[in-house]
């Protein structure tokens, strides 16, 4: 390196360093402003959940509970609430299993055996999954309200699965495309059937994709409110989100403390999964965008 280039590099480095101060200030200003917009309602809920009942309706409101009590969290442990959590778990787990079971084969075949018919089918799935959700739920409700199908676990699981499997198929397609066909062809020559290739080769290789989708499905089903409202007609089949709104609509007396505690407890699973699996989480969510 000659002295000229060295000076030039040093100069550009100096320029880079001085230029990087300005972006940093505006970056952190933005972050602070975002925090001021995002955090207050959440902090307020946490604060309310730790207050004794009488303090929750004090005016002017206090941000820091004094005294701090966990009574609200204990008061949550009713049979109804626990049932909500169990229901949501069943719906989520059932949807993950069913969605993976039907999406993986479809994604595999759609990637490897392209034909015009296959593309039409995929486009059809894409288009249909954009039917407005509310339309689907209400039609299903009126169609099936007189049968024994409504208000059952299988029914809701199938509905949840249908909503997300369009996206799952497309997402898994991306993953499968990245696997070189060579491995499969070698296996085919060795005498493996398509099924065995799928089970022994493809699925292990797309494990990250499967994890991402599973997490995405869990969050989607856990956070959903409408399906439970429309298609679960008795309290014992409703979901955690229905339970939250239930406090607002049928809360007797002073319920804000219990309501806040319920929100926090309902949020914990999603938060935990997010914190533990951030990378896979993000991967699943960016599936609607650019190919990895």
């Amino acid at each position: 390196m000659t002295t000229a280039t060295a000076t030039a590099t040093a100069a550009s480095r100096r320029r880079r360093r001085s230029r990087s101060v300005l972006p940093t200030i505006s970056t952190w200003t933005y972050i602070v402003i975002s925090a001021l917009i995002v955090l207050p309602p959440v902090v307020w809920i946490v604060s309310t959940s730790l207050k004794p009942e009488a303090d929750t309706i004090k005016f002017p409101p206090e941000w820091i509970p004094n005294p701090i009590t966990f009574d609200n969290y204990l008061g949550l442990l009713t049979a109804t609430n626990i049932r909500f959590f169990i229901n949501s778990l069943i719906y989520a787990a059932g949807s993950i299993v069913l969605a993976l079971a039907i999406s993986i084969p479809a994604a595999y075949v759609a990637t490897r055996y392209r034909s015009r018919r296959m593309e039409t089918l995929m486009t059809g799935i894409l288009v249909l999954s954009m039917v407005p959700a509310i339309v689907v739920f209400i039609a299903l409700y009126s169609m099936l309200v007189k049968t024994a199908l409504i208000n059952t676990y299988p029914m809701l699981i199938v509905v949840y699965t249908a909503i997300i499997c369009g996206q799952s198929v497309l997402f898994l397609r991306n993953f499968i495309e990245n696997i070189s066909v060579g491995i499969e062809e070698a296996a085919a020559i060795d005498g493996c059937t398509r099924l065995q290739i799928l089970w022994h080769i493809i699925i292990p290789l797309i494990r990250p994709g499967i994890a991402a989708i599973a997490i995405f499905i869990f969050v989607f089903v856990w956070n959903d409110y409408l399906v439970g409202t429309v298609l679960a007609t008795t309290e014992d089949m409703k979901t955690v989100q229905n339970g939250i709104v239930r406090y607002i609509t049928t809360g007797f007396g002073n319920f804000w403390g219990l309501f806040s505690a319920f929100i926090i407890v309902a949020f914990v699973p999603v938060l935990t999964i997010f914190v533990a699996f951030q990378r896979w989480f993000i991967a699943g969510l960016t599936s609607g965008g650019v190919k990895g």
Partner: protein
């Protein structure tokens, strides 16, 4: 067939190596459709069936949930001549575009900010994603409590500033404004995630020029980043618009379409007509209208994707 030929796909009509292979391949080809059968069945049951049922219901009279006699396009005529329809459409437009105008730039800026961070990346990402991790029902109800006119901190702030209590949900204009803002607040991380994906694929040369080029940040942004993101921006707009057009939960848990129908978007109208008015036929007609809107957006999305892959 060598490994070097078709690298990604296997055309079903590749030249066979022997007659036995032909037969096996044809039988296998038919079995392919078995793999997509479950997905198709589920879709048939959940999407196609209800879609036809909705169309069928819209063409008949209904009492409660019984389908009565054929009434042709009556329900559609009723829909179009309903004096509330223009305001529902206007509300939907105001709501969707209003939330879009906020969520799109917020998502983009958050994505850029996040991308430019080297330290604290995980924490800031968690902060930005927080509102989206909350469910829609949670987002609506925690703002309901925060804005409570009797006990909420928002009221405390406005009262100390000399204004009255925050009766946000009691007046038509503020109710619509509140619902729009809450939806934008909840949904901007979704835009951010989509932008993040795109921002991370900006080629190195562009990244370098972002840092070193003369002319200032804004110049870099407008002339280099934005054009590169043009496709993603359109994609995000479509995704967000479809989300807003279909939004029911946030409105349902806060205002349920009131006061006086000020927050009744088309989706909310479908819900209210079904469960409050028991007017299944009318609700189905509105639903078909909603579906048409979605189709237009979807076609725009598909047309755009095809253009992108050219």
């Amino acid at each position: 067939m060598s490994i070097a030929s078709s690298p990604r796909t296997q055309a079903p009509d590749a030249p066979p190596t022997s007659k036995v292979a032909v037969i096996r391949r044809r039988r296998e080809d038919r079995r392919i459709w078995l793999y997509v059968l479950p997905v198709s069945a589920v879709f048939l049951f959940v999407f196609i069936g209800p879609l036809f049922y909705t169309a069928w219901t819209a063409l008949h009279e209904t009492t409660y949930y019984q389908i009565g006699e054929f009434s042709g396009l009556n329900s559609f005529v009723e829909l179009i001549s309903d004096p509330d329809l223009p305001s529902s459409i206007r509300t939907t437009l105001v709501f969707s575009l209003g939330a879009l105008i906020i969520a799109l730039p917020a998502g983009l800026l958050s994505g850029i900010v996040l991308n430019s961070l080297h330290r604290f990346k995980r924490s800031v990402r968690s902060l930005f994603l927080l509102t989206w991790l909350l469910s829609q029902a949670t987002a609506g109800t925690i703002w309901l409590w925060f804005l409570n006119p009797n006990f909420g901190p928002a009221t405390a702030i406005t009262k100390s500033l000399g204004f009255g209590p925050t009766d946000v949900f009691s007046s038509p204009t503020t109710a619509l404004l509140a619902v729009t803002l809450i939806t934008a607040w909840w949904s901007y991380p979704q835009a951010m995630l989509l932008f993040l994906g795109a921002l991370q694929t900006i080629p190195e040369e562009l990244r370098e020029s972002l840092k070193v080029d003369g002319g200032g940040l804004w110049h870099d942004f407008v002339n280099i980043t934005l054009p590169f993101l043009r496709n993603t921006i359109v994609s995000v707009v479509i995704v967000l618009l479809m989300l807003y057009v279909q939004m029911v939960t946030i409105i349902l848990v806060t205002t349920r379409g009131g006061p006086l129908g000020a927050t009744e978007t088309l989706s909310m109208r479908v819900f209210n007509q079904t469960f409050n008015d028991f007017n299944l036929s009318g609700a189905s007609a509105t639903a078909i209208l909603l579906f048409t809107v979605n189709i237009i957006l979807t076609l725009a999305a598909i047309r755009f994707r095809r253009k992108e892959s050219l």
